[in-house]
Subunit: 235 residues, 2 copies
């Protein structure tokens, strides 16, 4: 990069601390954006993700990392926000109980508000519609609908250049995401994807997110740097 | 109403504590919904609105009132969330500084998540595109775009009956809103619309919201029950 931070266009990057969002941040940086990372402390089971997000933001050169507290357990309805709903440890059919109602819509709305204040036109989100858990708010038609909404919702959309919702992973398989991130220097040992990581960030190796991640490293032919509490389940 | 609460369909109603959202709640109740009122404690200047929301929810028979804390001052960019940006006391042109970036998108997203958990298909919001402040996220095309998004974003939208975003005030003038609410028994003395109400909920009488509200009562030919700190500015 030859540009100084002040010359770079700004982007807001939603950063969970998991593998996908870390890769997305690396892609946004490689495209030349000054990246403003946004994490939401939403009462997730896997609070170790937020620590991971802090490490990833620092390591990958985000110019700022904002963590907004928003307790979605007041709404509940998900294994990730309601301790009475267990995280499945075997594959499920349909949309799984780890689906958090309207989560990406809430997160993208907050990213949109921040982008408008910062003067950023690009909002990056690490959703993926290939090796994913079947969440409706990870599909291309959802991302397109949010971009349309964003440009109707805001002063910038009405009077200015508007917003682009960038989902660079949306059509990639997990192993392709891992290869791309590895090429960009992402240290995946910093990331936490597990739905029920312990306080130290060690993964269960059994939830859907762990299974997808482990299979991705295997198929990419790369060593899996994930720290597990015990030996992970094989596929 | 002859139905018991358990037979009534549920609705989520966004309730700010102002005149419009109180009227919207009364309309939803009159349509026979069991109303789950949702307020967001977003760091607004006019925190007296939240107290008003509690009074209105109780008086108009909401079956539940949820207040979710979400500090939008972390994002800033509005006279309502950043104390360094003054609330205008004379009319402005264009979208005014009281515009809060992506506010309605954030609020509707939270309402959507809660509606999905409750099993509600109707989400009521008191936006108005006639006597309003020119906010982009109060226009019919915005509401239509959000409804479309809602039905792509959620399990219920993909697998079920889906969601309707109901904005019953969107085409009404302020005096029509006040007449409608008065006919439905809304006690507007409970509501607070002022952008800079004091802790006791007394209005400034000078901000855009106060002007629109005062003119509405005048044009409706109804006494204005608003409690002012001093004599309001005339139009």
């Amino acid at each position: 990069m030859n540009t100084t931070p002040s010359q770079q266009p700004k982007a807001v990057v939603l950063l969970s601390g998991g593998l996908d969002s870390a890769t997305t941040l690396a892609i946004a940086r490689a495209e030349g954006f000054a990246c403003h990372a946004l994490s939401i402390d939403y009462g997730q089971r896997h609070a170790a993700e937020l620590e991971a997000a802090r490490r990833v933001a620092a390591r990958l050169g985000a110019v700022q990392h904002l963590v907004i507290p928003l307790d979605l357990s007041a709404i509940g309805g998900s294994a990730l926000t309601d301790p009475d709903i267990p995280v499945p440890e075997t594959p499920t059919s349909g949309i799984p109980p780890t689906y958090v109602p309207a989560r990406n819509t809430v997160f993208l709305a907050l990213a949109l508000g921040w982008a408008e204040v910062l003067g950023a036109h690009d909002i990056f989100v690490g959703v993926n519609a290939v090796d994913y858990s079947g969440y409706p708010d990870c599909r291309p038609e959802y991302i397109e609908a949010f971009q349309r909404l964003a440009n109707l919702a805001t002063r910038e959309g009405v009077e200015g250049e508007g917003f682009r919702i960038r989902a660079p992973l949306i059509g990639l398989r997990k192993e392709e995401i891992i290869r791309r991130g590895t090429a960009l220097g992402v240290d995946y040992s910093l990331t936490v994807s597990c739905y029920q990581a312990d306080e130290a960030g060690r993964a269960c190796g059994r939830c859907d997110s762990c299974r997808l991640r482990a299979a991705g490293f295997r198929r990419a032919g790369l060593p899996d740097p994930t720290r597990y509490r015990e030996t992970p389940a094989t596929e």
